[in-house]
């Protein structure tokens, strides 16, 4: 309980310390922090739907991509009208949220393994749309983002950090609310939850949309920070599946788990990118395999014995 009260000042000091790092460090460290906070934010956003409901949302990267593309498409006038960059930036999460709302109708009717593989279809769908609609998206080479006043990874890092904090607060509030309780019961047994009067579809849709909104703003920021949005850069498997792997690795339905998982996996990936010329995808697959086999309930739960009648994060995934 003492820790619970001290957590706000402690995290405020920690955030201030991290925020001051760019003042005295190299561009490489800034870019690393940019990636780190983007993925921590994404992992938390993923967890708001995937962790709480126990669904495996393999299509989460689609909302990230929608946000990443919306920003330059609007701010560079690819649709025939040019929006102010800030307006375009703020529209991105709305578009991805709206996409999540619409896609919830087909996908949230599925359960378990079907949901996982069906939503995975969104990744090749978005990839091919981004490549084929080249008059809007620039095709395979993508869109260069040149926004003269604000450019680069430094503002991108601060925005990612702010969004991550907002996502963390949202995560915490949802977990403590009635919606959080409803989600808990849906994860344990969706049919029983519905029997007891929970509108499972509406609750799932709510967190699906919230999760998509955060993914959208992080996507817009990611493209803005990198300076280019391309199908291979935004919709590759390593980025698309990262939030899922990170949350499972860290421990689903847990803020600490998402943060821990995202940090560890980002650092491992960074190490691989620097030290391995090829086989990135294979190595990444190997990491997923090891996580699935040795820590399917996450590292935060390693050593925690399951008590009878109380499951921590195991999702009933029978179709």
């Amino acid at each position: 309980m003492k820790l619970g009260r001290a957590i706000i000042p402690i995290s405020a000091i920690a955030l201030a310390a991290v925020a001051s790092i760019p003042l005295y460090s190299s561009p490489y460290i800034i870019s690393l922090l940019f990636f780190l906070f983007t993925f921590i934010g994404l992992a938390i956003a993923y967890d708001i739907f995937g962790g709480f409901t126990g669904y495996y949302n393999l299509g989460f990267g689609a909302f990230f991509a929608i946000g990443a593309y919306t920003f330059p498409i609007l701010s560079l006038g690819k649709l025939g009208f040019q929006a102010h960059p800030i307006l375009a930036f703020l529209t991105a999460p709305l578009v991805s949220g709206a996409a999540a709302f619409l896609l919830s109708y087909p996908f949230l009717r599925l359960r378990g393994a079907y949901f996982a593989v069906a939503t995975f279809g969104l990744i090749p769908l978005m990839y091919n749309l981004a490549r084929n609609l080249s008059f809007i998206t620039g095709g395979a080479s993508g869109i260069q983002i040149i926004v003269t006043e604000f450019f680069g990874m430094l503002p991108g890092f601060y925005i990612a950090m702010a969004v991550t904090v907002a996502a963390a607060i949202t995560h915490h509030l949802i977990k403590r609310s009635r919606v959080g309780l409803a989600l808990n019961s849906i994860r344990e047994d969706e049919d029983v939850a519905s029997e007891y009067g929970i509108n499972a579809f509406a609750v799932k849709r709510l967190v699906y949309v919230i999760s998509g909104i955060f993914a959208g703003i992080l996507g817009a920021n990611f493209g803005f920070g990198l300076g280019v949005v391309s199908p291979d850069g935004i919709l590759n498997l390593e980025i698309a599946l990262a939030p899922l792997i990170m949350t499972i690795f860290g421990g689903p339905a847990s803020l600490l788990g998402a943060m821990l998982g995202a940090s560890l996996i980002t650092l491992i990936q960074e190490f691989l990118w620097l030290n391995m010329p090829f086989f990135h995808l294979a190595t990444y697959g190997l990491i997923i395999l090891l996580v699935a086999v040795f820590a399917p309930r996450g590292v935060v739960h390693i050593g925690v014995k399951r008590r009878a009648g109380r499951s921590l994060t195991t999702a009933p995934l029978n179709a």
């Binding site: 495996y56 393999l58 896609l103 109708y105 087909p106 996908f107 009717r109 599925l110 359960r111 378990g112 393994a113 079907y114 996982a116 593989v117 069906a118 995975f120 279809g121 969104l122 090749p124 769908l125 091919n128 749309l129 490549r131 084929n132 498997l237 599946l241 792997i245 499972i248 090829f278 086989f279 990135h280 995808l281 294979a282 990444y284 697959g285 190997l286 990491i287 997923i288 395999l289 996580v291 699935a292 086999v293 399917p296 309930r297 399951r306 195991t314 999702a315 995934l317 029978n318 179709a319």
Partner: protein, 294 residues
């Protein structure tokens, strides 16, 4: 547009659709028996075409002649996959099998795709293709593309023999019994654990032979494995779980839709058709065209 053009498109679509149907059938057989959704199923398809390419390149055999080699080879591969990956890796976790199986088979798919892409790149190949060029034949005034026509005949024979295996052999009866009720099948003496291995072998054999045919009518890259899994799942959502006819009809719908999209809008767009069809079906009829709970 001439009749011949339509005939060619329909022939291509039927061929593609029949192959999708067989791939999906393998996926649902495995899922029905072992309750494991093998995300790497599509990679057996790609491996089938890669093996076909390697065998024909190094032995100089005609692709049609190696049709009998692929199914037993991939049956063995599938059984091996079950004995190692499934029994030793996935089944280690008894409490969360399905979740672990999605992650583990996805990881396996990524590893296989990356390694085979690297291997093919080393051999100077960017894509897998086994095009066979035979002179078109003229039947009653219609020009028929011979390769596709022979492939279609071979595919029909394959589908019929698959149907006979599932419907009339002891293996098929045990397979269907296990899918319908695992416990009851065990009570009446079916070795369910053995059926799991055999179903993986059967599914991999269907996927491998489909991959060989696919390489003959189109070209593919190692990274298309996951794409084929998504298509197979679309077929399952369209046609229902474990139904032979449903899989075939679902596959033909997707195949024809892709063939016509490729003709009118380009092959780039054909790849999104299956996923759009899946979304549309889920909106209009969540229980699929042939019904069934999922």
């Amino acid at each position: 547009m001439s009749v011949e053009t339509h005939l060619t498109i329909i022939l291509g679509g039927l061929l593609l659709g029949g192959l999708y149907g067989l791939i999906a059938l393998g996926l649902t057989m495995v899922f029905g028996v072992s309750r494991i959704l093998n995300v790497a199923h599509g990679d057996f398809v790609v491996l089938g075409s890669i093996f076909g390419l390697l065998i024909t390149t190094f032995s100089g055999l005609d692709p049609f002649l190696i049709i009998p080699i692929i199914p037993p080879l991939f049956f063995a591969v599938g059984v091996l996959f079950e004995k190692t990956m499934v029994k030793r890796v996935i089944m280690r976790n008894t409490e969360n099998t399905l979740a672990v199986s999605i992650l583990a088979t996805l990881a396996f798919a990524m590893i296989v795709e990356d390694i085979s892409f690297f291997g093919l790149g080393q051999a100077g190949l960017n894509y897998v293709s086994l095009r066979v060029f035979l002179q078109p034949i003229n039947i009653l005034g219609f020009i028929i593309p011979t390769t596709r026509f022979i492939s279609l005949i071979a595919l029909v024979l394959l589908a019929i023999s698959t149907r006979i295996i599932i419907q009339s052999t002891t293996f098929g009866r045990r397979l269907r019994a296990t899918i319908q009720d695992r416990e009851l099948a065990e009570v009446v003496g079916v070795n369910v654990s053995r059926m799991s291995a055999l179903s993986f072998g059967f599914g991999a054999a269907l996927a491998g032979i489909s991959g060989l045919f696919l390489a003959m009518i189109t070209s593919l890259t190692p990274f298309q494995g996951l794409h084929f899994t998504v298509i197979a799942l679309t077929v399952v959502i369209l046609g229902g779980l474990g139904s032979f006819i449903g899989s075939l009809v679902g596959g033909l719908v997707i195949g024809l839709a892709e063939a016509y999209t490729a003709f009118y809008m380009g092959t780039n767009w054909a790849r999104v058709v299956a996923i759009l069809v899946m979304i549309a079906v889920l909106v209009v009829r969540p229980s699929g065209i042939f019904g069934g709970r999922r």
